[in-house]
Each structure stands twice: as structure tokens, then as C-alpha cells.
């Protein structure tokens, strides 16, 4: 993230211009400089003596996070983003590996963090980004004994001279299949070179209004946010799970460039609010990770956003290496891109020798963005001379080729096809349960759905239509008994409904059905809980 010296430079030139937008909160460059100055001073005073000092964040995008990241960059403390949707087990593994000295967390994700216990956890400083900190006494035993609110740190008086920044270190989480992520380490700064290359490649400048509709934990989103702030542009933090609000924000804030995560992009393009964006918005460049996006996204983005979509090939180990612009997207294969400035490509055979264009092999990437290694475990590197002297290449886990047009085309993974392992016993019982329910004479119709949502956890939701008015209780009892008999390990929430929505081919519209029944189920559970409390009292 941007450092305080750069923020002060922009603040001196344009103190009243907006630097960061987060909903109704708007930070001018002057306010941003003041907040980062105070935050850096507060953090500096609270930092435990452990070195290297490392920070992690577990929070959705918010202006407080931007301030915290800038303060960390100023102090030379790496600030690693954790996936807010990861489970406690995965987070615990990562925290044990990274051993953070500071954890920035929002109220929404605090519960899952409190469920993580790692060896150095008790010494870590927890910073609550939103709301007031209740104090150390409210913390579970052994979990982050030192905690402070963002507001308290922001009240710190700025230091006349900030401490000398710690030696550079940057950590990036590499998502792993099967829930075992790794951590990529870089020990030399690449931000300056990356900024120059992005400006050369895309012509970004300080007049741009940049929307980040992807978690700042994601390296590409974080890198682009830093780039635009460094240029003196405006950073808009977008609601990446609300397509209507996102479409409105693009127009209202006059967004010119954006990085949008693949899920948010599909939702935005599916929403009627995006249909007029090509005509009404100022968008000129939208960057999205392209590995999992399909042809419909490419076609629809062209129609609804205009010629702006750039699909990126990026990995946590090698950075943002290739991109496919809108002009070529329609004729290029999915999962292809042109190498960007500062990145070199080699396609290797099984012996590690470079292959000619057109041949398929392992994809290897070289360049200043490539990591130094993993925090734990070996990484596969090779040294090749492709005519520009020996270069160090990171051998990725993917296979691909350089096609006749000079594009990198990723064709497959270098590993075997991953097989999703299942709990066969539960799956079998779900199959049997469906067969059981089809034969129940007391129901007109029913639908079994397995959900894992806050408030219910992993459970079955079973709406049904009773065979006649007044027979709901019979249906309820029968279904509850059937579910408990078949799958006692999963709680079943049985509920009578008037209608079960189907598609024309007979697929249950689960989204519509869940939208109608989940609020009632949650309300019933709350009532039940209240009654139990009253009875026990």
C-alpha cells in the first residue's frame, strides 16, 4: 500500500481532493495523511518487540483498512490479507505459519478469528477496525490478550519522526486445493517498477477514479489500489456483493477504472442495472481475473460495459503477468493472455527444457514480480537463458502453450484432476431420503436443500406442501422423523409452504425458495431460543 511520504506529497498538492471513498465516508488527501500519520504512530507505540513484525487483516474492504495498510507500509510491516470466507481451520494454519504481531479484524469476522488458536496468538495485538473495543477482559482466554480499537489508535498524537522502516517483506497467501494454503514471500520491493509498467501499459494517471470491487486481500486488487493512490487518483471501495449498488456507484462516482472479482462481475452483468453502463458510465478499463470466467461474461461485458474488459492471468507467486484486452477477447481462447511488461514466459517439457511456440508444456514465469520462495516448503525454480542472459523462472502448476499469435494459452493444470472427496455415508443417506420422501402420501410436494448459512450452520432445509389444508402438522412430523432417521448428523428445518418454485424443466429454484423460507426459520429459532431461556430462568 501507499506510504505516508507519498500521501503527504498528494495532500500538499490537493488537500481537499478525495483520496478514498467508502460508502458515505469520504477521506480527502489531507484527512488520509492525518489518519495514516496517527495510525502509524499508534501502531509504532503498540508493536510488540517480536521481529519480523507482521500484520494480517481479516476484514471486508473499508476505509479503515486502507488507512491501516498504509500505516503498515510506512512502518515497513508486511500486511497480509486473509480470505474472509475461509474456515477457522484454514485460518489457524495460516496464522500459525505467518505468526502475525498485529491482526486487523472487523466485528463481522471477529468470531471466526476468536476460534483460531495459534502458538504466538496470545502475544498478537488485535485491532478492531469498526466499533468500540470492549477491552481485554472480554476476550476469550488465550486469544489475543492485547486488543485495541482503530479509533483509539487514531487518537494517538503523530510522532515528530517516524521510526526507520523495517526491512522489506511482503507475504501473499497462495490458496491451496484441499484447504492447505501456502504463503509466498518477497523480500525486495517491486511496487515502484510495477507502477511504471502499469502506467506504460494502460496509461493510468492521477485523474482516474479507481473502483476496487474485489477484496483487498487479493494481490491484484491490492496492487492496483496502491498504484492509483500512488498516482494521486481516487480509490473507491465498492460493495462487491451487491450488484445494484455497484452499478449505481460506477455512475455516481464517475469511475474510470475498476478491478472487479469474478463473482461480482458475473453478478453485475446479470443485473438489469448494468445494462446502460456502456452509455452512462465513464469506464475505460475493467480488470478481472480471467481463469474462471466464460464466454458469456466476455460477450455480455462488451454489450453492457463497452470495450473495457481486460482478463488477467495472475498468480500469487508470480504477480500480474499476462492480460487479454477487450479487442482480442472475442477471438482469443478463454484463459489466454499477452505477457505484460516485466514478465517473461517459457513453456517447458517434462525435462525442464524450453519448448518452441505451439507446443504444450509446463508454464514457467520470470520477472521482478516473482516471489523469492514459500514461507515453508520448497518452490520449483529453474534457470534458463532465452537469449537475454540467465533468468530465474518459477515453474507454475499449470500447462499451456504460446500460440501462433504470441499469446499464452493456459490449457490445463500440471497436476492430476482434483477429485472432490465426499462423506459417502451422508451422501448416500441424502439420496435415500429423497427416495423416501417421494413415497410419502401425506405430502403434495417437498424439496430437500442442504445449506450452510450463518445462524443455521450446515443443515437441511425441507419446505413442503401438505396434502390438504389442515394437514400441515402431519406433514411436519413425518418429514422431521424421516430426516432425523436418515441423517441424524444434520439438523433438519422442516417448514410448510404454499408453493415450491420450479424451472420449466423441473429444477427447484433453490434461491427463490430459500429467500422465502430462511427468514421464517431463523425467526422460529430465535423464538424457540427465547422461550427456552425464559423457561430455564
Amino acid at each position: 500500500m501507499i506510504k505516508l511520504d507519498d500521501i503527504r506529497r498528494h495532500a500538499a498538492n490537493r488537500p481537499e481532493q478525495i483520496a478514498v471513498v467508502d460508502g458515505a465516508s469520504r477521506l480527502t488527501w489531507g484527512q488520509f495523511a492525518d489518519h495514516v500519520d496517527r495510525m502509524a504512530a499508534g501502531l509504532s507505540a503498540q508493536l510488540p518487540p517480536t521481529r519480523p513484525a507482521r500484520a494480517v487483516h481479516l476484514a471486508d474492504n473499508r476505509w479503515e483498512l486502507a488507512v491501516a495498510m498504509a500505516a503498515c507500509a510506512t512502518l515497513g510491516v508486511s500486511c497480509t490479507g486473509l480470505d474472509v470466507e475461509a474456515g477457522a481451520e484454514e485460518l489457524t494454519g495460516l496464522l500459525a505459519r505467518i505468526q502475525p504481531t498485529v491482526v486487523f479484524v472487523s466485528t463481522e469476522h471477529r468470531q471466526v478469528l476468536d476460534g483460531c488458536v495459534w502458538p504466538t496468538g496470545p502475544e498478537a495485538l488485535h485491532v478492531l477496525l469498526d466499533g468500540a473495543e470492549a477491552g481485554a477482559t472480554a476476550r476469550p482466554a488465550g486469544v489475543g490478550s492485547r486488543s485495541v480499537s482503530f479509533g483509539a489508535l487514531l487518537a494517538t498524537e503523530p510522532l515528530p519522526n517516524l521510526p526507520i522502516p523495517l526491512p522489506y517483506e511482503s507475504l501473499t497467501v497462495v490458496p491451496g486445493e484441499g484447504g492447505s494454503p501456502r504463503v509466498a514471500v518477497r523480500r525486495s520491493a517491486v511496487e515502484g517498477r510495477h507502477l511504471v509498467d502499469l502506467v506504460d501499459e494502460f496509461g493510468f494517471d492521477g485523474s482516474d477514479v479507481h473502483l476496487t470491487a474485489a477484496p483487498l486481500a487479493q494481490p491484484t486488487a491490492r496492487g492496483l489500489a496502491r498504484t492509483f493512490l500512488s498516482l494521486g487518483g481516487t480509490l473507491v471501495l465498492g460493495p462487491h456483493r451487491d450488484p445494484a449498488a455497484l452499478a449505481a456507484l460506477i455512475v455516481e462516482e464517475r469511475v474510470t477504472t475498476a478491478v472487479i472479482d469474478p463473482v461480482a462481475l458475473v453478478r453485475l452483468l446479470s443485473h438489469p442495472g448494468s445494462e446502460a453502463l456502456a452509455g452512462s458510465a465513464q469506464l475505460r478499463c475493467v480488470i478481472a481475473l480471467g481463469r474462471h470466467l466464460n464466454r458469456w461474461v466476455v460477450n455480455t461485458a462488451w454489450e453492457q460495459l463497452g470495450p473495457v474488459l481486460h482478463l488477467a492471468y495472475a498468480t500469487p507467486e508470480t504477480g500480474l503477468n499476462a492480460i487479454m484486452g477487450p479487442d482480442e477477447l472475442h477471438v482469443a481462447p478463454i484463459r489466454s493472455g499477452r505477457m505484460m511488461l516485466g514478465s517473461s514466459l517459457a513453456i517447458l517439457d517434462q525435462d525442464g527444457a524450453p519448448l518452441p511456440a505451439g507446443a504444450t508444456g509446463r508454464v514457467a514465469i520470470s520477472g521482478y514480480q516473482v516471489m523469492d520462495g514459500y514461507l515453508e516448503g520448497e518452490a520449483e525454480f529453474t534457470t534458463l537463458d532465452l537469449g537475454q542472459g540467465p533468468q530465474r523462472f518459477f515453474v507454475t502448476g499449470e500447462r499451456g502453450q504460446l500460440d501462433e499469435q504470441g499469446r499464452l494459452v493456459v490449457t490445463s493444470r500440471g497436476t492430476e484432476v482434483p477429485t472432490v472427496s465426499r462423506n459417502g455415508a451422508v451422501d448416500t443417506e441424502i439420496f435415500r431420503l429423497e427416495a423416501d420422501l417421494l413415497n410419502l402420501p401425506c405430502l403434495r410436494d417437498t424439496a430437500v436443500m442442504r445449506v450452510d448459512v450463518p445462524g443455521l450452520g450446515d443443515s437441511l432445509v425441507v419446505p413442503f406442501i401438505a396434502v390438504a389444508v389442515g394437514r400441515e402438522l402431519t406433514g411436519y412430523k413425518t418429514l422431521t422423523a424421516a430426516c432425523n432417521r436418515r441423517i441424524p448428523s444434520l439438523p433438519a428445518h422442516v417448514i410448510a409452504v404454499d408453493h415450491i418454485p420450479y424451472s420449466p424443466t423441473g429444477t427447484i429454484n433453490t434461491d427463490e425458495l430459500l429467500d422465502s423460507v430462511l427468514p421464517i426459520i431463523k425467526l422460529n429459532l430465535q423464538l424457540e431460543h427465547t422461550m427456552q431461556q425464559e423457561m430455564s430462568a
Partner: protein, 129 residues
């Protein structure tokens, strides 16, 4: 466009045995599904299901409820072309659970789809397929 060499199929019964032909076919199928313009979103998962054994599960989000049948036909045709030796089942869904980088949360997806798969296998549509 990339051309893939014809795949020679071996035994697919044992999931523990690495099978290069299967791997190539799977990834080629994944790319082919991503190229289909008639579906909004798609995910391909290799798993083992009760009664069915080794299964290729294609979860797709149709363009509209009326386009669900055509999306299913296109997905099934791609599976039959690329990996005819493995049972494949295409299921329409409203949403595919993904991580921030777009990768599919495969276990969550299968959990969600399993009741519908069980239902599909006893429905007249599946029988006609």
C-alpha cells in the same frame, strides 16, 4: 482455437490410478464448457457419488429459466464428446459458490447440489436424457 489430440480412454474405475488421458480430457472439457455462450456460469467437478460412482458434475447457471434445457443439452453434449467413458450429470443452479479469485468451492457446491441430483435421477427429464 486450440485443437486437442483425440483422447484414448483407459480404465476409469479406480480413482487412485493417475490417468493422463482422463486428465487431458477433463481439462479440455473444462475449457469447452467455458467457451459455451449459452450458459451464464459453469463449473466442472470430478467426484464420487452414491449409486453412481465416479461422476463428472457440471453445475451451470442458465441464461434464463427457458434456456435451462438448451444449456443442459450443450453441457451434456460436451461431456459425451470429451469424456464418453465417465458418467456426467449436468445440474442447473442459481449460483456457483466461488472464492474471491473465482475458483469453485467444490465441496460446498456438491453439498448444495446433491439433493437436486438425487431428485433428477428419479425424474422423467433425466430418464428421457
Amino acid at each position: 482455437m486450440i485443437e486437442y489430440s483425440p483422447v484414448q480412454f483407459a480404465e476409469f474405475g479406480d480413482l487412485d490410478v493417475p490417468d493422463v488421458a482422463f486428465d487431458e480430457g477433463f481439462f479440455a472439457l473444462e475449457l469447452e464448457l467455458l467457451e459455451l455462450p449459452c450458459i451464464r456460469e459453469v463449473a466442472l467437478v470430478h467426484t464420487e457419488l452414491p449409486d453412481l460412482g465416479e461422476t463428472l458434475l457440471v453445475a451451470f447457471v442458465p441464461l434464463s429459466p427457458e434456456r435451462e434445457a438448451s444449456g443442459r443439452r450443450a453441457a451434456n453434449a460436451a461431456c459425451a464428446r470429451r469424456l464418453p467413458g465417465v458418467f456426467a450429470h449436468a445440474v442447473a443452479t442459481g449460483d456457483i459458490p466461488r472464492s474471491a479469485d473465482g475458483s469453485v468451492r467444490a465441496s460446498v457446491l456438491v453439498d448444495r447440489l446433491l439433493p437436486q441430483i438425487a431428485r433428477d435421477l428419479t425424474s422423467p427429464v433425466e430418464m428421457s436424457d
